[in-house]
């Protein structure tokens, strides 16, 4: 087994027992990044930074001062600011942007001595479900290069699935961590809104954006959550609640837990038959683990997508107002100040970003605000209440992460509604602000990974991870 194929927990043991050094582990990651550059997982590779950080990590390990992540190579989605390292959001308007500050979650991880190997490709500003909206080219699925990686955090998922990094830190607004994780056969976690600091994340939809990890196992996800979760004075929406020791309590028995299976998900028109069968097998495994399976109904599920796209486009159009190439970014000249804004944005944003800004500007404009944004926010309340109600009867809810496995390039790019509908199973949890974990559930006959999604009540990350850990062990 190559060093870059290890999990965080395995690499920790190897590093602390001096079986190998962080310099060797990091080199293995970097070598593989270059070997598989064709997958296009990275926008920026930080070789120099990584080599320096790996040496420092080795010194810490020798002095027995290592933390959970010391010396472990990792990647970061390019919408997350990394100090002194180019952060483009996969949009040309930020092609030259070097943040003078660092996102809180990344600060916490690097304080532990984790080694940054690069910034990963994504749909520009996180807008997309296939990574085809990146201005640095699409990311290929390592299981079948004719298929998309999923999105928007395609590069992050591929970097972990293809062992180019041991873990990745990404961002999920409506499924951007979970869906590519499912498409690439890795674990991806969207914690409750507010559990992790959003400081230093380029905002997309501020009421939905969540930072979370992508890793190879649920154990690794738990280890990462222990490091990154918690209140941050720089993010007034982060919650002050104490962070449990997620990794210590993973082994807690799930026997007797009640698992809800929403029929609106399993009986969705157009759900891939193979996907449904694989998920049903996993539900069977839950029974064998002593969990009680209960069919539930979440009739508002179908409204989550329209709510999501109205809220996202509206908040997007507002948030992206700051990306005007005046104080940073690639400025394109014009005859007036307004022309400078308009020309820079026209050339520096891909089509999907412009489309969302247009939809959002329209939805928020005079005369339409009540009909679209306010209406969507009201239906959002009902969706939240529906989940709250469901969780009075069950402990967790299980669903497929995506109605189908990874699809071919170009098949949904012109039909935007079809592309938006790929988020049908991931957007409800985002709208409700509840934790949602995607873990590998199996593979189709043609070898494409299928993801299982586990949802829990707000701030019940610990329970979601325990269930994920137990199901993962049934493989």
């Amino acid at each position: 087994m190559n060093l870059n194929e290890l999990t965080i927990a395995e690499a920790r043991k190897g590093l602390d027992t001096k079986k190998f050094s962080s310099v060797e582990l990091t080199q293995a990651s970097l070598d593989h990044i270059y070997e598989r550059k064709d997958l296009n997982a990275f926008v920026t590779i930080t070789d120099e930074v990584a080599k320096v950080e790996a040496k420092i990590a080795d010194k810490r390990i020798t002095k027995k001062e290592s933390g959970a992540l010391t010396g472990i190579p990792f990647s970061v989605k390019d919408v997350i600011c990394t100090i002194d390292v180019r952060s483009t959001a996969s949009a040309k308007i930020l092609d030259n942007y070097i943040p003078p500050y660092e996102a809180t979650v990344i600060k916490k991880i690097r304080k532990q001595g984790a080694v940054l190997v690069g910034k990963t490709n994504c749909d520009a500003f996180g807008h997309g479900a296939s990574n085809e909206n990146s201005m640095y080219g699409p990311v290929k699925n390592p299981y079948d290069e004719t298929k998309v990686s999923g999105g928007s955090s395609g590069g992050s998922a591929v970097s972990v699935a293809d062992h180019q990094a041991i873990f990745s830190i990404a961002e999920d607004t409506g499924g951007s961590i979970r869906q590519p994780s499912a498409f690439c056969g890795v674990a991806g976690f969207r914690p409750s809104y507010g559990r992790n600091s959003r400081y230093g994340i380029m905002p997309m939809a501020s009421s939905l954006d969540v930072v979370g990890p992508i890793a190879k196992t649920v154990e690794d996800i738990a280890l990462l959550m222990e490091v990154i979760a918690g209140h941050d004075t720089k993010d007034s929406t982060s919650v002050p609640d104490a962070v449990p020791q997620y990794s210590k309590n993973l082994n807690t028995s799930v026997k007797g837990m009640k698992v809800g299976i929403p029929k609106e998900y399993m009986e969705l028109e157009g759900i891939d038959e193979e996907t449904r069968k694989i998920i049903e097998e996993k539900i069977q495994s839950c029974k064998e683990l002593g969990m009680e399976i209960i069919e539930i109904s979440l009739p508002l599920t179908k409204y989550a997508i329209p709510v999501y796209y109205i809220v996202v486009s509206s908040e997007d159009s507002s948030n992206l107002g700051r990306i005007d190439a005046i104080r940073y970014g690639v400025q394109v000249d014009g005859t007036s100040l307004i022309n400078v804004y308009a020309n820079s944005r026209e050339q520096g944003f891909p089509e999907e970003v412009k489309r969302r800004i247009m939809i959002g500007t329209y939805a928020l404009s005079d005369g339409y605000y009540d009909a679209y944004y306010r209406k969507a926010q009201k239906v959002r309340t009902l969706i939240r209440q529906e989940f709250d109600e469901a969780f009075t009867g069950v402990d967790v809810i299980l669903t497929p992460t995506s109605p189908f496995p990874a699809f071919n390039f170009g098949t949904k790019t012109d039909d935007i509604l079809a592309m938006y509908l790929t988020d049908v199973f991931v957007s409800p949890a985002a709208v409700a602000g509840i934790p949602a974990l995607s873990i590998p559930a199996g593979k189709t006959q043609s070898g494409l990974p299928v993801g299982l999604q586990i949802l829990g009540p707000r701030l019940a990350e610990e329970r979601v991870l325990q269930v994920g850990y137990s199901i993962e062990k049934t493989f």
Binding site: D84, Y97, I98, P100, Y101, G194, S207, T233, S236, T237, V239, L300, K302, Y303, P306, Y309, I310, S317, D324, A325, I326, R327, Y328, G329, Q331, G334, S336, L337, I338, N339, V340, Y341, A342, N343, R345, E346, F349, K354, R355, M358, I359, T361, Y362, A363, Y372, R374, K375, A376, Q377, K378, V379, R380, T381, L382, R384, I416, L417, Y420, G433, R458
Partner: protein
Amino acid sequence: MKLTREEIDRIATLARLSLTDQEKDKFADQISVVLTYADMLKEVNTDTVEETCQVTGLEDIMREDVEEPVSEETRKKILSQFPKKKYDLLEVKAVFDNKN
């Protein structure tokens, strides 16, 4: 409900985007598709429902109004990002222009 060219132009100006004619035509169709799809929300009765503006329940998060000093190094980094500058000042085109 297809958006008119005038509506598209108005939104593009509000959004500070100088779209091509091709983009304008495409967006006019696609925005209509999305908004028509969103019309399904009308099926849901929300007469007595409050909007969700946030999900954490946190209220009135305040901090002391004090300045946080920035190091000279950080200041230089911020200045280095300016697309156009004169000395240490950000250079922009005139905000008030008699022509507009």
